[in-house]
Symmetry: C2
Subunit: 271 residues, 2 copies
């Protein structure tokens, strides 16, 4: 399926685009199944928050309509939406006339080994730290050099994801996933008020946890919390949930809570 | 003058570019006078450091040749060079075959009021803070949302620049300039090991200070240092030096050291 730029088939953006110049924008990576953009409400919610916090002049209703139409045409795969602040003047000041640019691109589902979801994955403990920046925390913005550096730290297939801490040592998330710890019936994930990306599946799991008999908590997490977890998993809206079985010298079993949530998530993303 | 992409006239980049996707790259803003790219060695030096620290597969000799040719053709103005990590796969991992993309764009010299250099400017004290990220500090990378947010904090023409502090309160730089404090014959500018952009003119001034009878120091700066400075100025490689005469409730005169350095810089940039 051809990409769309501002609603029309196109394969390029002009050099004046502020996404290119400054990473001035946000993106969403949306799972499409059976012609539907999955977790669409959550993606729109996060776009809405970005629109407010970054003062992006974005027509959310138009984005919703385009995502829906594009997903129908795609049928199956991953829909990447990039929103930029449109064309720029020279310099950081945005033109008062700027309108956001909308870029939609389709790609096939990534070919992750089946074993990732079934048997679990190891996490590479990244040395690259997440900077503490409350003004940007939680948003899936286009300033992603930290993730680029972190992802470049390991090449092999032994680890499927990396574990990222902030510059003060807190355990935060994966490079392209959120992280959950399970202790008994308690589900914990890092608070993302200082750094990190508030994933749509993370939000959905926090909302659905009570219905599964789980107590969901958002908290600051330390390495010791990781060490004392009964189960650990990573998640995102494309692959769903992967159990985590190892990181550095820590190991965990694939547990019952993780399996229950995997079943739930398959329904949300796949069927 | 038409922009060049990878050495050829072009006005767009493909949607797979990692500069657009992640801000995965760096840029340089080069003053061109009399057909020459000014401070070229300093710009190349910073590109070289970015190449090493971000592992960008960039041919620096090719960039030097292009900058030189493009500047000759331009004659006068501002040359913006964007380097991205080229086209991406889906995801943060860079393709081992990726080659950097080189984007050159010409624009006229910005029409700043003459009074800025002559009478000095006021700085707006920005609330947006610079996050502490040693892995990226000093580089002029494409992740510039902090500057976008800071620049959006004021609209009027009363302040020509903003003052940025880091998240721990240190005084660091302007939104698009470096900052210098003068006390007697001592010239001080913020150390940029935690955050900030190491400007090419900043580097040149630090190198030339001894020749002007000045002692140059790179140090952590606090608000109290700003308050006790005899003279303050901001600088970048396009406009040169602007005396700073006010910020918040602080005021400074336009002093003799600033005037001396302005004369020096005019020679470097204009003649």
């Amino acid at each position: 399926m051809e990409p769309w730029v501002d609603g029309l088939p196109a394969h390029a953006v002009g050099l004046a685009d502020r996404g290119l110049a400054y990473g001035d924008g946000v993106f969403e990576t949306v799972r499409v199944s059976a012609g539907q953009a999955r977790l669409l409400g959550r993606h729109l919610q996060r776009l809405g928050e970005a629109t407010r916090r970054l003062a992006l002049p974005l027509d959310l209703a138009l984005v919703e309509a385009e995502l829906t139409r594009y997903a129908q045409a795609m049928g199956e795969g991953v829909l990447k939406l990039i929103i930029t602040r449109g064309d720029g003047l020279r310099g950081y000041a945005a033109s008062p006339e700027a309108r956001c640019r909308r870029i939609l691109q389709a790609s096939p589902l990534p070919a992750y080994p089946e074993g990732h979801a079934r048997d679990g994955v190891a996490l590479f403990p990244c040395q690259t730290r997440l900077a503490i920046q409350p003004a940007l925390a939680g948003l899936k913005h286009l300033n992603r050099l930290e993730q680029v550096l972190a992802r470049a730290e390991w090449q092999g297939r032994e680890e499927a994801e990396g574990l990222m801490r902030d510059t003060e040592g807190r355990v935060v998330e994966g490079v392209f996933s959120n992280l959950f710890l399970v202790n008994g019936q308690r589900l914990r994930t890092a608070s993302l008020g200082r750094c990190g990306v508030a994933g749509t599946l993370r939000a959905e799991l926090l909302a659905q946890a009570p219905g599964q008999g789980l107590v969901a908590e958002v908290a600051d997490l330390a390495w010791a919390d990781l060490a004392s977890a009964d189960e650990v998993f990573v998640c995102n809206s494309v692959y769903g949930i992967w159990p985590v079985i190892a990181c550095s010298d820590l190991v965990w079993p694939v547990g019952a809570v993780t399996r229950t949530l995997q079943r739930l998530v398959r329904e949300l993303l796949d069927t």
